[in-house]
């Protein structure tokens, strides 16, 4: 059986950052991901990041992605793409299915001293009538099509949701040459940053507050040909008689994300429910270790945030496994973690961030009271 010091699952910002740290200190590190290319969702982020220079503000997401891949190579991280983890067993044996759906798949079992789960998050769906019709898709899916695959998912787009994802993806769809017809938002105010909303408004695209989509219209070709929207009351229920039909061929859903928890559950990590973080998440301590000894987590899997927090959490996980493998001293590890936690504090400020800091602290506190010390996978 193939033996590794560290197995990192998920090659997005968190997984890459964790692998780079572990690899840098000399751990034999294998990074696996089911997609065609590493980088997770970074390569579809064509906008410049916010924040301080310590967090590469002003740099576009895909440039950060390229930089990380370079660093991973320098840290001797081995990367397997098109590789899906399908089992995590006692003694850290892991079953990996490797290969394309269209080709021959290989089943490989490996054993890793430490495992870092960084599987990210998936988009939430909104279940109005006809929501399964081709042409209804996640906003992130539309973003992947234009920015990574360079193909438009459709020509006339209606966006549901005005959080930062809804706003940014709408603008990027315009940059790609799509006609964004309207943005629909159930709340009485726009969810995301005013700077993003202003770009949409300057382009003359209407943002319909206190409205929701109640139906996707299916055309003769079996695909979306429009949507019915309606005004909602203070309980977010559609008000009869306010329906309007909008012509479009694509409905993009930007209704938040939830952590991808399959492997965390499979490993038997203790969970907690956290609304602001998007649903069930694994309890973890300030070293990013779960209730299972030697199983670490990082990034959106631990609660939906953004790429910079994922990077920082990934680094913490990488440093902690290097410490547990005896590659760096506990003092060095603890000092480095302290610095990163300070940077995380600065990221989790402001109207959007502060709540997340409080929730993060609550998660770690619950870990201390309910778990204390991690135990091996049962």
């Amino acid at each position: 059986m193939l033996q590794k010091d560290v197995l990192v699952i998920g090659a997005g910002p968190a997984g890459l950052a964790a692998s780079i740290e572990a690899g840098k200190y000399g751990a034999s590190t294998l990074l696996v991901d089911l997609n065609m290319q590493p980088g997770g969702q970074l390569f579809k982020q064509i906008h410049k990041f916010f924040g301080s220079s310590a967090h590469r503000s002003g740099t576009r997401g895909y440039d950060i992605g390229k930089q990380l891949l370079q660093e991973a190579q320098e840290a001797n991280v081995e990367i397997w793409m098109q590789s899906t983890v399908i089992g995590i067993f006692p003694e850290h044996k892991v079953a990996i299915e490797k290969g394309l759906d269209s080709g021959k798949k290989e089943m490989i079992t490996i054993q890793a001293k430490k495992i870092i789960i960084a599987t990210g998050a998936s988009e939430n769906a909104i279940r109005f009538n006809g929501w399964t019709t081709p042409g209804v898709m996640g906003a992130g899916a539309a973003q992947t099509m234009i920015n990574v695959n360079h193909v438009k998912p459709g020509q006339q787009i209606v966006m549901l949701g005005t959080g930062n994802v809804g706003l940014i993806v709408s603008y990027q769809l315009m940059q790609a040459g799509c006609d964004v017809v309207s943005l629909i938002e159930a709340a009485p105010k726009i969810g995301g940053y005013a700077v993003h909303a202003a770009k949409i408004r300057r382009a003359g695209v209407p943002i319909r507050l206190r409205h929701t989509i109640i139906e996707a219209k299916k055309g003769e070709n079996g695909c979306v040909c429009g949507c019915v929207i309606a005004e909602v009351n203070e309980h977010f229920q559609p008000i009869p008689g306010t329906e309007e039909t909008i012509a479009c061929d694509t409905i993009a859903l930007a209704a938040g994300l939830k952590p991808t928890m399959d492997l965390v559950k499979l490993a038997g990590c203790k969970l907690t429910f956290n609304g602001p973080f998007g649903g069930y998440i694994p309890l973890h301590n300030d070293r990013m270790e779960t209730s299972c000894l030697g199983i670490f987590v990082a990034g959106d899997t631990t609660g939906v945030e953004e790429a910079n927090t994922a990077l920082e959490e990934g680094k913490i996980a990488g440093i902690s496994v290097a410490e547990d493998l005896g590659l760096i001293s506990p003092d060095t590890a603890s000092n480095q973690r302290k610095e990163i936690w300070e940077r995380l504090h600065s990221l989790r400020l402001g109207p959007f961030g502060e709540r997340r800091m409080q929730e993060k602290e609550a998660v770690m506190k619950e870990y201390e009271t309910c778990i204390g010390a991690p135990i091996p996978i049962q």
Binding site: L34, N35, M36, Q41, I46, R60, Q82, L100, D101, S102, S122, E123, A125, T132, T133, P134, G135, V136, M137, G138, G140, A141, A142, T144, M145, I146, N147, N149, H150, V151, K152, P153, G154, Q155, Q175, A176, G177, N221, G222, C223, T260
Partner: protein
């Protein structure tokens, strides 16, 4: 129909893979080697990838990153291939999937 993104203000949208042909339900379409099969289909205006088992309802792109399986098709005789994470190769034979097709 052409839905390729062109003249983008930030991105260089030139494909690095060479232009090849693939066969979709008996019809030849152009695609770039290495791009996801799904992207080539979208560009050709094909949005339905499969029909559901019981109600025979159409399904197409939903997540675009290999998680939801709504874009599964029969590729070179193999069923349940997620076209959003399967790269194009010259001469691929693609079929719309009917239910839980067993392929060939």
């Amino acid at each position: 129909m052409c839905l390729r993104v062109k003249n983008h203000v930030i991105l260089d949208c030139e494909h690095t893979g060479k232009e090849v042909e693939i066969l979709v339900d008996g019809k030849v379409i152009k695609a770039f080697e290495g791009e996801p099969v799904l992207a080539a289909l979208l560009n050709a205006g094909i949005k339905i990838n499969r029909y559901t088992v019981k109600r025979k309802e159409p399904r197409g792109l939903f997540c675009g990153i290999g998680q939801c399986t709504d874009c599964a098709m029969v590729v070179d005789g193999k069923a349940n291939v997620r076209t959003c994470i399967t790269p194009v190769q010259a001469g691929m034979v693609i079929q719309t999937q009917d239910g839980l097709s067993k392929g060939e």
